[in-house]
């Protein structure tokens, strides 16, 4: 069973056993632009993905007129 990463409306499936950071880089998601959470808790990106993990990614980048 793969691990699932969710960013806004998109879902990505990756094999378990790799770190969250490796999964993000493989999906071309810049680690600096998201905060990974598991079961509602922030986790660091060195965490190894477990079988069936669901990782929700909080997008952190905002922009527009001046970013205020």
């Amino acid at each position: 069973m793969p691990a699932t990463l969710i960013l806004r409306e998109k879902q990505y499936e990756v094999r378990h056993g790799m770190t969250v950071r490796d999964a993000l880089l493989r999906l071309d998601i810049l680690p600096e632009t998201v905060l990974p959470t598991r079961q509602g808790e922030l986790i660091t990106d060195d965490v190894l993905l477990q079988d069936g993990d669901v990782i929700r990614l909080i997008a952190v980048i905002s922009g527009g007129a001046d970013g205020a």
Partner: protein, 316 residues
């Protein structure tokens, strides 16, 4: 990964600081860092009245929370831009600011742009053809004007905005690409007061966007998560993306770029001929009295007049 302070499971790792912290130590670390920035750049003191510009987003509400916890005398100002975008964006933003202020018994000033300007921000951009299909230009212009006016009317000592390191570095990068020396001369953590201009400060200028977001999440601040409907494709998002690619490869690159720029600016290593003269050559707008670079009306008042003229033409 373990928290460097207590050994508990870390909630966040900051590669550029080589520092991982658990939730409770992170919630202490952000106010400590903010206080260091306030002191380092001599932004304000506990006796000053601070007006915090809030949008309902993670940065501005996070900043207001931190300043309140540090014991500063704060009030907020929210500028309703009249942006709907199919998600009632401005209404949702205002609701979050009101809930935040209400829960902490803090004063919130609110300004409704459609009432003041005669049009919502998207309408104003369409009517005046500013910004090439994007309302970001008229939005920035309006926010700067209104924030300054409210701050002056409220008689506060300083206006604080939630600009973070990523915002500052993206602007610096853009102005460096175009070598806009006038803008480079004005970019700083503190913009001193001048006649007609309130003092402006950016206490989060050394914190990454990821760090301010983590603070808002861990503190349980209900901020507006959705992006402004008009932000997609904005130039500063392209710059942020490029800089984050650099940061992923070289942790600390963004902070180093920003701090090196500030040092160069302070020591005079950046030669900006004419910038100082342009700064001092200001006139009072004949309509609103706020300072403007050209004699006559300021850009905000010209924009407002054009909106009213367009409306009159259409009603004939």
């Amino acid at each position: 990964m373990k928290c460097r302070k207590c050994g508990a499971t870390a909630a966040i790792n900051m590669r550029h600081h080589r520092l991982a912290l658990c939730a409770s130590h992170y919630l202490e670390w952000i106010p400590e860092q903010t206080q260091r920035t306030i002191e380092h750049y001599r932004m304000f003191s506990l006796s000053d009245q601070v007006l915090v510009a809030v949008s309902g987003g993670k940065d501005s509400l996070g900043l207001w929370d931190v300043l309140d916890r540090l014991g500063y005398q704060t009030a907020g100002v929210y500028i309703g831009l009249g942006i709907d975008g199919g998600v009632r964006y401005s209404d949702q933003s205002l609701a979050r600011c009101r809930a935040f202020a209400g829960a902490r018994r803090l004063k919130l000033h609110t300004v409704d742009v459609p009432t003041e300007l005669g049009a919502s921000i998207p309408e104003a951009a369409r009517l005046t053809h500013r910004g090439q299909q994007k309302p970001c230009s008229v939005c920035g212009l309006t926010k700067r004007h209104v924030m300054n006016r409210v701050a002056l009317e409220a008689g506060v000592d300083v206006l604080a905005t939630g600009h973070n390191l990523d915002d500052e570095v993206a602007v610096l990068f853009g102005n460096t690409l175009s070598w806009s020396t006038g803008y480079l001369a004005r970019q700083a953590p503190v913009l001193e007061a001048r006649p007609g201009f309130v003092r402006k400060v950016k206490p989060f200028c050394r914190l990454m966007e990821r760090e301010t977001a983590a603070y808002a999440v861990l503190r349980g601040i209900d901020y507006i998560y959705d992006e402004c409907p008009f932000a997609e494709g904005a130039t500063n998002l392209t710059h942020k993306d490029l800089l984050n690619r650099l940061e992923a490869d070289r942790p600390g690159a963004k902070l180093s770029f920003y701090l090196s720029f500030l040092r160069a600016r302070q020591t005079g290593a950046l030669l900006l001929p004419g910038a100082a003269e342009a700064e001092s050559d200001l006139h009072a707008c004949v309509t609103c009295g706020q300072p403007t670079t050209a004699p006559g009306e300021c850009t905000y008042c010209r924009t407002r007049r054009r909106i009213h003229e367009k409306r009159e033409q259409r009603s004939r």
